[in-house]
């Protein structure tokens, strides 16, 4: 059996940035998606955010109107975990919190079909450890697929096999990646894998540079954008990922690995506690309009308290 071919439905648990990104990518590949979130209110917000994101991408020529409509039509939201029943594959995409993930996986396991594959979207937690919370029969069906934000634009997925991961899970994950036109990078099960470790290091250092007054936000971003030939500098990238996610991932790597480069910069912590979460909250290192477009620099300066921490600019 070619696992690619019965892949016409999938369930995504968690409708945050990652869950929405995965749902959208699946739907864009013609797969019917059920997106699960705890409350109807959160679902409504997720749906609105999906539409906003697609509208923004329409303006950047990334999708056409009919593609946008088809994607939205293929994503069905629900607050009931029953939606994990009867699908060949379930994607877990809730925040990086080991305790919550364990609890959720147990719940999903109790409802899902015995052959359903679980794809975990984690970059810092151990697939092996998470699978060992589940019955022996389920363990081979767990695999890590780390999608990178924004999922629709980054053609890469890090594939992580736990100690118990079996054939079916791996071929299913590879079929998904092929269907989504993502290149598969197989990485060892080790916190942060490749992209998260390097990206977080870069972002954390960039925040330190601004905080220490070595260069302005714009200078740091411009320099690294040119140096790496990248689309964004590290601070704009942090805004795009979400500063809360960046903070949580750094904190987790800091605890796991004990390497000082992962200790979250104090400025990052302050911004997160002030609710400055980046693009999604309208404000992070940069400011954004309602559609998530970065505001021109002139409108964006002189607002305390961040400007006190920034060198003149």
């Amino acid at each position: 059996m070619n696992p690619n071919l019965d892949l016409d439905r999938a369930t995504v648990v968690g409708a945050g940035t990652a869950g929405r990104g995965i749902s959208r990518a699946l739907a864009a590949a013609g797969i019917e998606v059920r997106m699960v979130e705890r409350t109807d209110g959160l679902l409504d917000r997720a749906r609105a955010a999906l539409r906003e994101g697609l509208d923004r991408d329409l303006g950047r020529w990334a999708v056409t109107e009919s593609e946008r409509d088809a994607i939205l039509a293929r994503i069905d939201g629900t607050s009931s975990l029953e939606a994990v029943r009867g699908v060949p594959i379930v994607f877990e995409a809730i925040p990086e919190d080991a305790k919550e993930k364990r609890a959720l996986l147990r719940e999903i396991d109790a409802i899902a079909d015995p052959t359903t594959v679980f794809c975990l979207n984690t970059s810092t937690l151990s697939i092996t450890a998470l699978s060992e919370m589940l019955p022996v029969e389920r363990r081979p069906l767990l695999i890590g697929m780390h999608f990178l934000h924004p999922v629709s634009r980054i053609p890469l997925v890090e594939l992580v096999r736990g100690r118990h991961t079996g054939e079916r899970a791996e071929s299913m994950a590879r079929a998904v990646a092929a269907r989504l036109e993502k290149e598969v990078m197989e990485v060892a099960e080790y916190p942060g894998y490749v992209t998260t470790r390097l990206t977080l290091t870069l972002i954390n250092e960039a925040v330190h540079l601004v905080m220490e007054g070595v260069a302005t936000r714009d200078a740091v971003d411009r320099a690294m954008k040119l140096r790496l030939g990248a689309r964004h500098g590290p601070l704009a990238l942090a805004d795009e990922i979400g500063l809360d996610s960046v903070y949580r991932a750094l904190d987790s790597l800091w605890r796991e690995l004990g390497l000082s480069q992962f200790r979250p910069a104090p400025l990052l912590r302050r911004m997160v506690s002030a609710g400055w979460l980046g693009e999604k909250s309208g404000r992070g290192f940069y400011r954004y309009d309602a559609a998530g477009r970065r505001l021109p620099v002139s409108e964006d300066f002189g607002k305390p308290p961040l400007d006190r921490l920034l060198p003149e600019g």
Partner: protein, 404 residues
């Protein structure tokens, strides 16, 4: 011969059963939404309009091909009593690269070579190939023939198919002009020759395929010597949502200014440009003609650019051939939009191209015929890619029989 013509796309299979002797299409059908729960199968028998419509789950192309065979073989509403009556299967394949200059009987080696061309046509060849594999599995005893969109342009001379780019790109990545719509242009040539009562190899013909995609082809003495589409079907004429020719520097500039990546730039050129992009209204010719009628300036602009580009290419094709005997239109727009034909030909009197307006206006909705009043014949030809695929299949099958 009775030939099943298959055109396999990503989630659809379109097919016809054609009797090459009478040139009649016996049944026309398609399977849509393959891989999804609610696949739809439709088939119409041409002789009596008998229709079959079914829906159900079709998991993959193998299922789809099986359903197609069941339908064409349907005792009440099909085209034959037994699949034994089928003499061969003709498969449309978009890209034959440099390996295939003619249609060919498909064996395992040919399948491998078509796979090698995937890099050149990532959107089409993989699906064509899946259809071929499925059909060969279901009909292992029948001859299967691959008919390539690019093969008709195999006669392009090097001076026409090379881009003035570093030669190493041609060696390394086979970057060159291939041309598309070849099967259609071949049909236009044959049909135009019939309509003009001439031999195809005596004609200097400009063939204009104007549909969703659009291309011009300069056919000198029966051979394609130049064509407007290039490495991909993006180059050349303005299309529904494709830009056609642009200064390549524009896209690099826009990518930098708008901070967009490769996939957005690709979509910008292929899905957001052309009539759609320029008008901001629609990529559909019928919508634009209506809007222009009501005085919409952007619709008019889009149509002006569309027609002017065609006119330039007619001139270019005439120059490439050193003369022109006929200009022939085909495709949805070419066959139906008389006004567009007239606008595209406007001002070409110096080439001997003059439009007989009443004749032109009468040629719509599948009517074929001539509408020129000058030295150069102007023709409308009903598109017949499937018929050409069937005839090519017959030719290759007969050739094999002879060689045996």
């Amino acid at each position: 011969m009775r030939i099943l013509v298959l055109n396999s796309g990503s989630s659809s299979v379109k097919y016809q059963v054609i009797d090459t002797g009478s040139q009649d299409t016996l049944v026309v059908g398609q399977v849509e939404r393959i891989g999804a729960g609610g696949a739809i199968l439709t088939q119409t028998r041409t002789s009596d309009g008998e229709r079959i419509k079914r829906s159900g789950s079709i998991l993959d192309h193998r299922d789809a091909i099986q359903s197609v065979l069941d339908l064409v073989n349907d005792p009440d509403r099909g085209a034959m009593e037994s699949l034994e009556e089928l003499d061969g299967v003709g498969h449309r394949v978009v890209h034959g690269g440099e390996a295939f200059t003619d249609a060919v009987i498909i064996d395992d080696d040919v399948e491998d070579e078509i796979r090698d061309c995937i890099e050149l046509a990532p959107l089409h060849n993989p699906h064509n190939l899946v259809g071929i594999r499925a059909a060969r599995e279901r009909l292992p005893e029948h001859p299967h023939v691959a008919v390539f969109d690019t093969a008709f342009h195999a006669t392009l001379p090097p001076k026409a198919f090379h881009y003035a780019l570093p030669y190493v790109l041609y060696k390394r990545h086979r970057i060159r002009r291939y041309g598309f719509h070849g099967t259609s242009h071949r049909h236009v040539l044959e049909r135009s020759a019939q309509l003009m009562d001439r031999e195809p190899d005596t004609l200097h013909l400009v063939s204009l395929h104007l549909g969703n995609g659009a291309s011009a082809c300069a056919i000198r003495a029966g051979q394609s010597v130049d064509t407007s589409m290039g490495f991909t079907p993006l180059e050349g004429l303005v299309m529904g949502t494709r830009s056609g020719d642009v200064d390549p520097a524009v896209i690099l500039h826009v990518m930098a200014r708008e901070e967009i990546g490769l996939s957005e730039a690709t979509a910008l050129l292929n899905k957001h440009s052309g009539l759609q992009g320029l008008s901001g209204i629609s990529g559909d010719m019928r919508d634009l003609l209506e809007e222009e009628e009501t005085g919409d300036e952007r619709a008019k602009l889009a149509l002006d650019v569309y027609c002017y580009r065609i006119r330039k290419y007619i001139g270019a094709c005439a120059a490439a051939m050193g003369g022109v005997d006929a200009v022939a239109f085909t495709g949805g727009i070419g066959e139906n939009a008389a006004g567009i034909r007239a606008r595209a030909l406007d001002g070409l009197g110096f080439l001997g191209i003059d439009v007989d307006e009443p004749e032109n206006a009468s040629l719509t909705g599948g009517e074929e015929g001539g509408f020129g009043s000058g030295r150069v014949a102007l023709l409308v030809v009903r598109s017949g890619e499937e018929l050409t695929i069937a005839k090519e299949t017959e030719r290759i099958v007969e050739q094999r029989e002879r060689d045996r």
